[in-house]
């Protein structure tokens, strides 16, 4: 099991709050990138993360898209997994029990194609062992509204959040898409509907062409771009949302180093999620946490939470909640 040289005892308080959930540190393994951590356990202790977000679960089993489903791109990758998954029934029977021995806090993730589906699946996640919050992947097409993506529209986003909030007691996190002209109205709609936090950002729509074969690389044609390439887009989304929100933000998109994570925290995020970078360097949570702690120390801060919004003018006037 790998550890990092020079990572001394934490001298500062790394805990953060996401609604009523307390995470031991602000690092979250992003949905769809970490399973429950078991595959990584051979190289790194997944307990390095303050929480692990599960792959999004749908009502029905889904086979996902045809192959190829992933493609490397400059400083990033495209994926079009297509929400492959066993569906909520199988998940509850065969997988949820194992959450009792999860290495760290778990955030369940729900995806759906109608408001009712979100609410029904989320309700069944409430109260599972070690699950401290529920994230809603509202970046899928809304079949109630002609297939437009939920998170492209404030009303659809609000409808999902409100319906879920009615059914669950855990904190609810709305995960928004960057494929919009302005993230602020969507984030505000989520907040008004009762979201306890927002996750920013899901992958950015993109595609690649295989010029030898003269066809799209992905069988699904387009996919989601993740990795360092999208970091400036993601930091901007967090910054914009932080202008208008009271609820905490979980920032993500291309985090590979402590410096990258600090960009998000200083732009207004309370926690950060790491996805693609785990594939390149499984030790990434150790490095990032060590470097965040160092920065807090350098600034003579006693908590990591105090880094939130340091670069953001809005935070000069805000108080406590984050």
């Amino acid at each position: 099991m790998a550890t990092l040289n020079g990572s001394a005892q934490p001298r500062i308080d790394t805990r953060v709050r996401i609604g009523s959930a307390r995470l031991k540190n602000p690092l979250v393994a992003a949905s769809g990138c970490y399973n429950r951590g078991a595959e990584f356990a051979r190289v790194v202790d997944p307990a390095a993360y303050g929480a692990i977000v599960l792959k999004s679960i749908t009502a029905q089993p889904r086979l996902g898209n045809a192959m190829p489903r992933v493609a490397p791109t400059p400083a990033g990758m495209l994926n079009a997994i297509g929400l492959q998954g066993p569906g909520i029934e199988y998940f509850l029977t065969h997988e949820a029990p194992a959450l009792a021995s999860a290495p760290t806090a778990i955030i369940a993730s729900v995806a759906g194609f109608s408001v009712a589906e979100f609410a029904a699946v989320a309700a069944r996640m409430d109260g599972l062992p070690n699950v401290v919050a529920i994230e809603l992947d509202v970046s899928c097409p809304n079949v109630d509204r002609e297939g437009e993506c939920f998170a492209a529209d404030p009303d659809s986003t609000a409808a999902v959040v409100a319906a879920v909030k009615e059914r669950v007691s855990l904190p609810v996190i709305a995960k928004l898409t960057p494929n919009v002209a302005d993230i602020k109205p969507i984030a505000l709609a989520a907040q008004s509907a009762g979201a306890d936090a927002v996750s920013l950002i899901n992958a950015v729509r993109g595609m690649a062409v295989d010029v030898t074969a003269a066809r799209p690389v992905l069988a699904n044609v387009s996919g989601g771009l993740s990795g360092p390439a999208i970091r400036p887009i993601a930091v901007n989304a967090v910054w914009e949302a932080a202008k208008v929100l009271r609820i905490p933000i979980i920032g993500m998109g291309g985090i590979e180093t402590g410096r990258d994570a600090l960009e998000f925290l200083m732009a207004g995020a309370t926690a950060v999620a790491i996805g693609t970078a785990n594939f390149r360097d499984p030790l990434v949570p150790l490095r990032v946490l060590r470097d965040i702690e160092k920065e807090a120390e350098r600034r003579k801060l006693s908590t990591v939470a105090a880094l939130t919004g340091l670069a953001h003018p809005s935070f000069a006037t805000k108080t406590g909640t984050r």
Binding site: A2, G32, C33, Y34, N35, E39, F40, R42, V43, K55, Q60, P61, R62, L63, G64, A66, M67, P68, R69, V70, A71, P72, T73, P74, A75, G76, M77, N79, I81, Q84, G85, P86, G87, Y90, F91, H94, E95, V217, S226, G227, P228, A229, G254, T276, A277, N278, F279, R280, D281, P282, L283
Partner: protein
Amino acid sequence: MPAHQQSLEDATLVSREFIAPGFWHLGLRSPHIAGRAGAAQYVAVDIPGDFAVRLPLGIWTADGDTLSLLFREWGTRTERLARLPVGTTLSLLGPLGNRFTTPTSAKGATIVAGGLGIVPFWLLAKEYQRAGIALEVIVGARSKDLLVGVDTLRELGITIATCTDDGSDGTQGNVIDLLRARPKPDLIYGCGPPAMLRALCSFANERHVPCQISMEETFGCSLGTCWGCVVPVRRGCDQATGYPRAPADSRAYDLARVCIDGTVFQAADVLWQR
């Protein structure tokens, strides 16, 4: 289970050899991974440059503290890898994936490789030599210039039949033609392009010959967590596919991850059409 002992290791590039236009052979000092490498296992290489995911490459030879890679310049990552100077430090993750198994009862086996599908067979050949079991090897390619690694395998003292589509080396024809022309094998190992593997599986399944194939897909994580590399396999087969399963009501298969449930699958288990 030895296949699950993996390391994240900083390897040193110790040799770099141009073997044919577009084909390279790299030697890497990587004691932990080299010491544990099995046939059909691979490493995930963090190529320096603007790459966010690792590149999977099969382990060709492994001897003492050194392993080697045999690869083609396919695109940006392999081109970059081919140009790194000796002395470069490269982060490797491995050995990854399951292995070809060598049944202790085997009387003999036939290896069928297409092009760079030869990669997993140096290690397998060594295992067979150690076990003293007879092995015959068939390697095919479109043309002579795409037949690489054959000499290195011959250096082990193995007899190899080659074939090419254009007759520029060995018999003219493909590996299945060659296989058909021979006595029925007891056991087959295969690796190569999808069309070849598919034909090989039909061949083996029709004749009820046990056959293990090593498959390839574009990988994201190489670790089993992104679900980017799935292949449909018969439900209830050997592979521990983990979740998610195909919907029980509609399809009689699971989606297995090539990167971690494979790369080796039983020909009888792989479903070629969805």
